[in-house]
């Protein structure tokens, strides 16, 4: 069935799409926001340690489900296999209204100025497509601020001398420090480092009509029971609906973006919640499905004019898939460091994001979110048996005495780490699935080892009686920090979208999510995705003028 034409259809109600929908709707455009998952509420926080977005062994509580979704994973030896969302290598992010922001850890980092100028700062890196962004930190600064105030960020980075300049402080103070924070802060200062309170998209005080965090132990991977964690599902998406100009259609799976004989986007074809094929015409199409699924959608949108998929004339769609491998260290202390006061993560340093001798980039280091016992059971020292009496003794003695410091190693993008569509395997709706292949750059692994050593030194200074490393990941990245697959650039030959997130050869098609990141920084990427969504929306609204993108 063909639906009534609207000004804009936004595909994906996550960090990027939720913001675009709200900005366009408030500017007066009629908007349809399509989301493949459901709209959950705070009551859907199950606090189930085996079925959540972080530990999905029994399923991902906020989707996608194992029944209808699959991908093909190709390992570095070239062996391929079909994988389900609950398998680690699927590289899942959530499928629900709010996307990853409904259940994330909610760290709210601004990238640093050098993260936008990696090639100018460091030169080229062998076997990497490392490059500068076409936009600078200064271009995004007002939009970072808008994200911090509209979505809501608590924390205090005034003690971070490495931070990029900001015009306004964060809207909420940090949560009071827990025991790990109290131990780690003076230790960092003794080492000459610069610890500060992590900025978090979490209410530390009542904000935007919702309560403050109640400090429980189920945070990253879970929805917030008291709705104190701020995502697009409880901020901008309700605002978009309140404008009267936006219709949210959940459980709608978009098959392809449709184009006309002139090569302009005319809308999308999607399967609704009853699996009926529908067509939504629109003047403007925005793909905000996350770096993996946006690439899949563009590649699956083939026609005579675009035989290789949309935006893919030069074979750049799906390339440069990035995420973050976390590396760090565990420290066993003589006394309890566990205080059962969530979320756990609270203190960070940015001393190692840049300026590491002989290295390109780096990463932030933070104390980790609370480890539930099932997490901790696989975090034991490498010299300890993985099972039996010794393992059980360690669990009993060490659980409350262990602190973890780790951080995201900045990834050197690889042209061959990529998303393709599989020529054979299809999902429940008959849509060709994602095919993942590639590996992590050796220098990214080196950065991880460096972060691991720095975390180790910090924990030792804090009084850890023994430490052991969390080694960096070697395999393909992606997952919750997925980025890079529709690179932003000035040259259409080496990028997919321009500086306004507009696909180079389809001027009424935009990509607004982590896909456009040229580099994913040494930080959790979500605040940058949000800032880019505000920035790109401002461009769309400014250009709109009633008819701009109409055919």
């Amino acid at each position: 069935m063909v639906m009534k034409r609207v000004n804009a259809v936004v595909v994906g109600a996550g960090a990027g799409g939720g913001i675009v929908a709200k900005e366009l709707a408030e500017a007066g455009l009629s908007v349809v926001l399509l989301e493949r998952g459901k709209w959950y509420t705070a009551f859907d926080c199950r606090k189930d340690d085996l079925r959540n977005q972080r530990t999905s062994v029994l399923g991902a509580s906020f989707g996608p489900d194992d029944e209808r979704y699959r991908r093909v994973f190709v390992d570095p030896q070239g062996h391929e296999r079909v994988v389900l969302p609950s398998d680690g290598v699927y590289g899942n992010n959530a499928a629900c209204v709010g996307g990853g922001t409904a259940s994330y850890g909610a760290m709210a980092w601004r990238y640093m100025e050098k993260d936008f100028r990696m090639r100018s700062t460091y030169g080229t890196v062998a076997n990497s497509t490392l490059d500068d962004w076409p936009i600078s930190y200064a271009d995004l600064e007002p939009f970072y601020e808008k994200a911090e105030w509209e979505i809501g960020v608590s924390g205090d980075d005034s003690g971070n001398p490495f931070r990029a300049p900001r015009k306004k402080p964060l809207p909420m103070p940090p949560l009071p420090p827990g025991r790990e924070h109290a131990i780690l802060k003076p230790a960092a200062q003794r080492l000459g480092l610069h610890p500060f309170d992590i900025p978090m998209l979490r209410n530390s005080v009542p904000y935007n009509g919702r309560a403050a965090c109640m400090r429980c132990r189920w945070c990253v991977g879970f929805a917030c029971e008291v709705d104190a964690k701020n995502g697009t599902q409880n901020t901008v998406i309700p605002k978009a609906l309140a404008s009267g100009n936006c219709e949210l259609r959940a459980e709608c799976v978009v098959k392809e973006i449709l184009t006309d004989h002139r090569g302009r986007a005319i809308g999308v074809a999607y399967f609704d919640s009853q699996d009926r094929l529908e067509m939504q015409p629109a003047d403007l199409v925005v793909a905000s499905c996350g770096a993996t699924e946006t690439a899949r959608l563009l590649l699956n949108s083939q026609s005579n004019l675009f035989p290789q998929g949309l935006g893919n004339r030069n074979d750049w769609v799906g390339r440069n898939l990035q995420g973050h491998g976390y590396a760090g260290a565990f420290g066993l202390f003589a006394d309890d460091v566990y205080d059962d006061i969530g979320p756990g993560a609270s203190i960070a340093i940015c001393d190692y994001n840049h300026g590491n001798p002989g290295m390109v980039g780096g990463g932030a280091l933070c104390n980790e979110f609370i480890r539930l016992p099932i997490h901790f059971s696989s975090m034991t020292p490498p010299n300890l048996p993985r099972w039996g009496k010794a393992h059980k003794d360690f669990m009993r003695q060490a659980y409350r005495r262990t602190a973890v410091v780790m951080g995201p190693a900045q990834e050197m993008p690889m042209f061959d780490s990529r998303v393709q569509v599989d020529p054979r395997v299809k999902d429940f709706w008959g849509i060709p699935v994602v095919r993942l292949s590639g590996s992590n750059h050796p220098h990214t692994v080196e950065l991880g080892k460096m972060l691991s050593a720095k975390a180790d030194a910090w924990l030792k200074e804090a009084g850890a009686v023994s430490t052991w490393p969390r080694p960096p990941r070697v395999g393909l990245s992606g997952g919750q920090h997925q980025a890079g697959t529709c690179r932003m650039g000035n040259d259409p030959k080496t990028s997919v979208v321009n500086r306004y997130c507009q696909v180079h050869d389809v001027d009424n098609l935009f990509v607004v999510d982590g896909s456009v990141h040229v580099n994913n920084g040494g930080f959790n990427p979500v605040l940058t995705i949000m800032a880019i969504a505000y920035y790109a929306s401002a461009h769309m609204v400014g250009e709109w003028k009633g008819t701009r993108f109409r055919g």
Binding site: F43, D44, C45, R46, K47, D48, D49, L50, R51, V57, L58, G59, D66, L84, S86, C216, R217, E225, D336, Y338, D340, P373, I374, F376, S377, S378, R386, W387, G388, K389, H391, K392, D393, M395, R396, Y399, R400
Partner: protein
């Protein structure tokens, strides 16, 4: 005085309970997926992975119950791995010591498991799944059953959470339980 410790009592009591169950079911399996013999073998493996000491082991907190529930739910895809692996470990036990796994002493059971862990056994029983892969699979699942949420059928009485010193979480009525699908909290009580 003949002092019966709590632990001895529980061991005797559960042995008696297991015995009566065998009697009443006439050898028919009490499990959803496992045969009676498979259930016993899986139980013996898990008990060596997480043995009883001053705190209960895998056997007593229902790790096999957890495995059995998941194997008719989200772990359906691991059914053939379990069928083959539990058969394979008996073959390896017979090759090493001339007896089934459940008939071996704890020390010999540990020796068999160490062989599996290093991927030593190959042979007929390990054609479909390697001994090493099966060991990794059941180890991960045993840890989930022992340290995971009791709603999934293991960790009876939150034994492991008490053991590591984790305070009881507040229970807030039905809000944490999904009653609309098979992943919900009451699943463990249904067949």
């Amino acid at each position: 005085m003949n002092r019966v410790t709590r632990r001895t009592f529980i061991q005797v009591a559960s042995a008696a309970a297991a015995g009566s169950m065998v009697c009443c079911t006439n050898g028919k399996s009490p499990w959803r997926f496992f045969t009676l013999e498979e259930g016993r073998t899986a139980d013996a493996i898990c008990e060596r992975l997480i043995p009883a000491d001053q705190d209960p082991g895998a056997s007593q907190v229902g790790v096999v119950n957890f495995l059995d529930i998941q194997l008719v739910g989200p772990y359906k895809r691991f059914r053939s791995s379990y069928r083959q692996g539990l058969n394979g470990i008996d073959q390896t036990s017979r090759q090493m010591y001339g007896q089934r796994f459940t008939e071996l002493s704890a020390e010999k059971q540990d020796a068999v498991l160490k062989e599996l862990e290093r991927g030593g056994p190959t042979g007929e029983g390990w054609k479909e799944i390697s001994s090493k892969d099966f060991f990794t699979l059941i180890l991960g699942h045993a840890m989930q059953g022992y340290y995971g949420d009791p709603r999934h059928g293991g960790n009876y009485g939150r034994v492991s959470w008490k053991m590591v010193g984790l305070p009881y979480p507040p229970i807030r009525g039905r809000l944490h339980y999904d009653l609309t699908n098979h992943h919900g909290g009451t699943e463990a009580l249904r067949d």
